[in-house]
C-alpha cells in the first residue's frame, strides 16, 4: 500500500458508559482504497468505536480526522455528509418498501412541491447497482429479498450518498459461503475504485482472505495494525487475546456414567427471521461430564438452547431431559431436573428492577410456599444465605438486581439455579461480562456439579473457556455439530478451525465450503 495520508484517522478515542470503559485510547488509520479488518473479541469495543465514527454515539475524548481535517459528529447525518457509510449487522431496512425507496430515504430526489421523482430514483439506484456490480431490481420489495440481496441494499444506501468510507459490521454473519464470496468481490472492486472499507469481523478466515491490513482491538485499545502478508490465523488470534494467562480450572478426570441426561436427536428449528438455525442436530450429555459447545455466535446455539429450555418450539426432532420428553414449559423442564443459566441476563435470567431476593426466589416458589402465602422472611434469609455462599459482592437481598456488576449478576443466576437438585445444568456464556476472579469461581462451581454426578452443558463463544472447562467439546457450525472431540486430545487450533468452518473432513456439505 502507498503512503498516502489516511482518509480516516481516529486518535486516542475514549468512551465510557458509566463506570465501564468501552473504548480506551483507541487509534486507527484507514487508507484510501484499502480493505481494513478490525478484529477483536467480545467486548473489545469494536462496534462502539465504529458507532462513534458514524455519529451514533458521542465520544468522551479523542480526535476524528477525515482527510486530514478534524471533525465532530453528533448524528449519523453529519457522518453521512462527510462520506462515511455504515452497514449495520442488523439491517435497518423497511421491509414493505421497494429497494429504491429504501436506498433514497433521507436523500430523496425531488420534483416540484416536494414530490419524489420516482422515475429518477429508480433509474439512479438501478444504475448505481449495476455500476458496483450489486445488481438489484429497484422496484423489488425489500421484504421479499434474500438476506444477501438485502445486504446489497444496505451497501447501496451508503454508496448512494457518495460514501467514500464504508464500515461493515460483521457483514458475513448471516451470509452463505457463496454470498460471502460475492461480498468480498464487491469489496475488492469498491476498494480498487478508491473507496475505503473497514470491516469488523471475528472470522479469521475472512480476515486472511479479504483484508489488506488488520487492526486488532483488545480491551478498548487498538493493540496492533499489521499488513496482511505472511500472517497466519495464529498471529491474529494472538494479537486479539494477548499474553493473558489462560484460565485452567483444576479438575480431575471426568467419570461419566452411561446415564444420558440430555439427549437431542434430529432437532430442527427456525430462527427469528424464519431461517433454518438448527439443522437436524443431535447431541447428548451424560451424567458426570462437562460438555462444551463451541461455536461462533449466530450458528444456532441460541436457538438450540431455547428449544431445550422450552422457550422455542422446534420444527422437528426430539429432546429428552433426564430420560423424560421435553416439557411444554420451562417450569416442566425445571421439574424434570433442568437448571438453565441463560446468557440474556437483563431480559431472561434476571428481573433487573426486582430485588435480589426476588430474583433468587423465582423458580423456587414452592420451597417458600406456606399455603397461599409466600414466606417472605424465609425467602429473604435464604437469599442472604446464598449471597454469602456464592460470594455475590455488593449485594443485599433488597437491592435491585441491576445495581450489581455483570459478574455478580451471573453469580445470582447461578446461585438460584444451582441451589436446587438439578441433574442437568446448562450454562450459556457463563463468563460473558464477568471479571477474571469471578470466572474462576464459576468454573469451579461447574466442576463441582460434574463431580457430584450431574451433567453439565456449557455453551460459550469464548474458546478459552471451552478448552479450560470441558471434558468433551462439540463444535456447532451452521446449525450442525461438526466435531465431537475429547478436550484432552485437542487444542485451540483444531477447535478454532472447526468453528470457522474449516473442518472439511467432517462436513457433508458441498465443496463450496472451502477452507
Amino acid at each position: 500500500m502507498t503512503d498516502a495520508p489516511p482518509v480516516v484517522a481516529l486518535r486516542n478515542i475514549v468512551k465510557s458508559f458509566g463506570a465501564f470503559i468501552a473504548v480506551r485510547d483507541a487509534s486507527i488509520d484507514i487508507r484510501r482504497g484499502e480493505i481494513h479488518a478490525l478484529v477483536g473479541e467480545n467486548g473489545a469495543g469494536k462496534s462502539t468505536l465504529m458507532n462513534i465514527l458514524y455519529g451514533l454515539i458521542a465520544r468522551d475524548s479523542g480526535q476524528i480526522e477525515i482527510g486530514g481535517k478534524s471533525v465532530s459528529f453528533s448524528n449519523p447525518r453529519q457522518a453521512i455528509a462527510a462520506g462515511i457509510g455504515m452497514v449495520h449487522q442488523h439491517f435497518k431496512l423497511a421491509p414493505s418498501f421497494t429497494v429504491a425507496e429504501n436506498i433514497i430515504l433521507g436523500a430523496e430526489p425531488l420534483k416540484s412541491f416536494g414530490q419524489i421523482d420516482r422515475h429518477r430514483a429508480e433509474r439512479d439506484t438501478g444504475e448505481l447497482s449495476v455500476r458496483f456490480g450489486l445488481n438489484l431490481d429497484p422496484r423489488a420489495i425489500v421484504g421479499s429479498l434474500a438476506v444477501g440481496l438485502r445486504q446489497r441494499v444496505e451497501i447501496l444506501k451508503a454508496l448512494y450518498r457518495d460514501a467514500q468510507i464504508l464500515i461493515l459490521d460483521e457483514p458475513t454473519a448471516v451470509l452463505t459461503p457463496q454470498e460471502t464470496r460475492e461480498l468480498f468481490a464487491t469489496m475488492r472492486s469498491l476498494a480498487d475504485n478508491g473507496h475505503s472499507i473497514l470491516f469488523i469481523t471475528h472470522k479469521l478466515r475472512e480476515v486472511l482472505a479479504a483484508s489488506d491490513r488488520i487492526s486488532a482491538m483488545r480491551h478498548g485499545r487498538i493493540v496492533a495494525t499489521i499488513d496482511n502478508s505472511d500472517v497466519t490465523a495464529q498471529d491474529i488470534a494472538g494479537l486479539m487475546v494477548g499474553r493473558s494467562v489462560l484460565l485452567r480450572v483444576a479438575k480431575g478426570e471426568a467419570r461419566p456414567t452411561t446415564e444420558t441426561l440430555l439427549n437431542v436427536s434430529g432437532l430442527t428449528a427456525r430462527g427469528e427471521r424464519g431461517e433454518t438455525a438448527v439443522d437436524d442436530l443431535s447431541l447428548s450429555v451424560r451424567a458426570g461430564e462437562i460438555v462444551g459447545l463451541a461455536g461462533v455466535q449466530g450458528n444456532g446455539q441460541d436457538e438450540l438452547v431455547e428449544c431445550i429450555a422450552g422457550l422455542r418450539r422446534p420444527v422437528s426432532g426430539a429432546v429428552e431431559i433426564c430420560s423424560a420428553a421435553l416439557g411444554a414449559t420451562p417450569r416442566d423442564n425445571r421439574e424434570a431436573g433442568l437448571a438453565y443459566i441463560p446468557a440474556d441476563r437483563a431480559g431472561l435470567g434476571l428481573s433487573p428492577e426486582s430485588g435480589i431476593w426476588e430474583n433468587m426466589t423465582i423458580g423456587h416458589l414452592d420451597e417458600f410456599r406456606s399455603g397461599l402465602f409466600l414466606d417472605i422472611g424465609k425467602a429473604r434469609r435464604r437469599s442472604a444465605d446464598l449471597i454469602g455462599k456464592f460470594d455475590v459482592r455488593g449485594a443485599e437481598p433488597d437491592k435491585p438486581a441491576r445495581s450489581l456488576s455483570g459478574g455478580n449478576q451471573q453469580k445470582v443466576q447461578i446461585a438460584r439455579e444451582l441451589s436446587r437438585e438439578a441433574r442437568l445444568v446448562i450454562a450459556e456464556q457463563p463468563s460473558q461480562g464477568v471479571d477474571i476472579g469471578a470466572i474462576e469461581a464459576i468454573h469451579r462451581r461447574l466442576v463441582e456439579m460434574r463431580d457430584a454426578g450431574r451433567a453439565v452443558f456449557v455453551i460459550s463463544a469464548d474458546l478459552d473457556e471451552i478448552l479450560s472447562i470441558s471434558d468433551r467439546i462439540l463444535v456447532i457450525y451452521r446449525g450442525q455439530i461438526v466435531a465431537n472431540l475429547q478436550a484432552a486430545a485437542t487444542n485451540a487450533d483444531e477447535v478454532g478451525r472447526y468453528m470457522g468452518g474449516f473442518g472439511a473432513a467432517h462436513l457433508q456439505q458441498s465443496p463450496a465450503h472451502d477452507p
Binding site: N42, G43, A237, G238
Partner: protein, 375 residues
C-alpha cells in the same frame, strides 16, 4: 438497565432516589393544582376560593363527608381493578365496559330472580363479579392466544358494552313506561344505605374489604408475587416457571370482575335499578386513580378518596361560583398526563439518551473465534 453517562450527576441525584416513588404523584398533584389555579384565574374566579369550596364542599360537615364517601366508592373498585391488571403488566383500559356489564348482570338478577334475602344480594353481587370477568375475558383471550393488542380491544369493548347494555335497558328488558332502565331491583337485593344524606352504601365496605384483601395478596401471597414479577419482567417470569399466559388471562378476568363490582354497587346501592348510560366515566377515572396510587391497593383508597372528595366538592363549587363542576375532571386528567410521562434523569439533564449496546460489557458483535492459546 439504566446507566448514566455522568457519574457526578448520578451521585447528586441519588439522594432523591428514595423519594422517587412519592415524587411522581406529588408532582402530578402539584402541577394539576397550579394549572387548575391558572385556569380558574383565566375564568375570572379566585383560585383560593375555588379550592376552598372544593375542600369544604367535600370535607366540612357530615352531609358532605357522606357524599364524598358515595362518590369515592365506585372509584375504589375501578381504581383497584385497573391497578390489579397494570401491576401484572396488562393494560386493562376496559374497566368502563366491564363495570357496565357487571352492573347489568346485577340489575337482572336483582329484579328477575327473587330469592330469600340472605341469598339474593350475594347472588346479584356474584353476577356482577362474573359479568365483569366475562367481559374482560375477551380482550384477555385475544391477547394471549392471538397476540392482539389488548389496549385497542378494550377501547372498542367499552362502547360495545355501553350499546349492548343500553339495548337491554331500552328494548329487551325495559321497564314499563317512558324510561330507559330495567325494572327496579327487589328490596332483597339492595345494598343497604347508611344515611339519608347520600347514597353511600354497604358497597363501600365491600370496596374497602377488597382493597385490604388485595393489599395482602400483593404483598404476601405467591400469586401476588408472581403478578409483580410478571409485570416487571414477563420473559423472566416465564423462564422462572410462572405460567404467564394462563396467569395473564386470570388476572385480566379478575380485574374485570372487580370492575363489575363497581357496577353492582351502583345498581344495587345507588340507583336501585340498571339505568342506561348511568356512568359518568368511572372506568376511566379508575385509570386516574390507579396511576395516582401507583397501583397499590391502599394507595387506591387514598387516591379514590381524593377524587371522590373533588367530585363531591365540585357540586358545591358549581352552586357557589360560576364554574362548572368539570373543573375537577380537568384536574384529574392533568394528573394522569403528568403521571404517564416518564421523566428520566437524562431528560432533566437535557441530553438525549445514548444508544448503547445491550450489555455494557459486550459489544453488539457476536463472539470470537479461532482463539489460539499462547504457548
Amino acid at each position: 438497565m439504566t446507566l448514566d453517562s455522568a457519574p457526578v450527576a448520578r451521585r447528586r441525584l441519588q439522594w432523591l432516589a428514595w423519594l422517587r416513588p412519592a415524587l411522581h404523584p406529588v408532582a402530578a398533584i402539584l402541577i394539576a393544582t397550579i394549572v387548575g389555579g391558572l385556569l380558574v384565574l383565566a375564568l375570572r374566579e379566585n383560585p383560593f376560593e375555588v379550592y376552598w369550596f372544593l375542600i369544604s364542599g367535600s370535607l366540612v360537615g357530615l352531609p358532605n363527608w357522606l357524599v364524598t364517601l358515595q362518590m369515592m366508592t365506585p372509584l375504589i373498585f375501578t381504581g383497584l381493578a385497573v391497578s390489579i391488571s397494570f401491576r401484572a403488566g396488562l393494560w386493562n383500559i376496559g374497566a368502563e365496559g366491564q363495570m357496565l356489564v357487571g352492573a347489568l348482570a346485577a340489575g337482572i338478577v336483582g329484579f328477575a330472580l327473587p330469592m330469600p334475602g340472605y341469598l339474593h344480594l350475594p347472588a346479584a353481587v356474584l353476577a356482577a363479579f362474573l359479568g365483569g370477568a366475562a367481559w374482560a375475558a375477551i380482550p384477555a383471550v385475544l391477547r394471549v392466544y392471538l397476540n392482539v393488542n389488548e389496549l385497542v380491544v378494550c377501547l372498542m369493548m367499552n362502547p360495545i358494552a355501553l350499546l349492548l347494555t343500553g339495548f337491554f335497558a331500552t328494548h329487551v328488558l325495559k321497564a314499563p313506561g317512558p324510561t330507559n332502565k330495567l325494572p327496579d331491583i327487589l328490596p332483597t337485593a339492595a345494598l343497604p344505605t347508611f344515611s339519608l344524606y347520600s347514597q353511600v352504601n354497604a358497597g363501600l365496605i365491600l370496596a374497602l374489604a377488597c382493597c385490604a384483601l388485595f393489599a395482602v395478596v400483593n404483598a404476601r401471597t405467591i400469586r401476588g408475587f408472581e403478578w409483580k414479577i410478571m409485570g416487571l419482567s414477563p420473559r423472566f417470569a416465564y423462564y422462572g416457571g410462572i405460567n404467564v399466559p394462563r396467569r395473564a388471562i386470570w388476572v385480566m378476568m379478575l380485574s374485570g370482575a372487580v370492575a363489575g363490582l363497581a357496577g353492582a354497587e351502583q345498581v344495587l346501592g345507588v340507583y336501585g335499578a340498571f339505568y342506561d348510560n348511568f356512568s359518568p366515566g368511572y372506568g376511566f377515572d379508575g385509570i386516574a386513580v390507579a396511576m395516582l396510587a401507583n397501583f397499590n391497593p391502599i394507595g387506591v383508597i387514598l387516591a379514590a378518596f381524593l377524587f371522590g372528595a373533588l367530585n363531591a366538592g365540585s357540586a358545591v363549587l358549581q352552586m357557589m361560583t360560576g364554574l362548572s363542576k368539570y373543573l375537577v375532571q380537568v384536574l384529574q386528567f392533568i394528573m394522569v398526563l403528568v403521571l404517564a410521562a416518564q421523566f428520566s434523569w437524562e431528560w432533566l439533564s437535557k441530553r438525549r439518551p445514548q444508544t448503547m449496546p445491550k450489555y455494557p460489557e459486550q459489544s453488539p458483535a457476536p463472539g470470537e473465534a479461532g482463539e489460539i492459546e499462547e504457548a
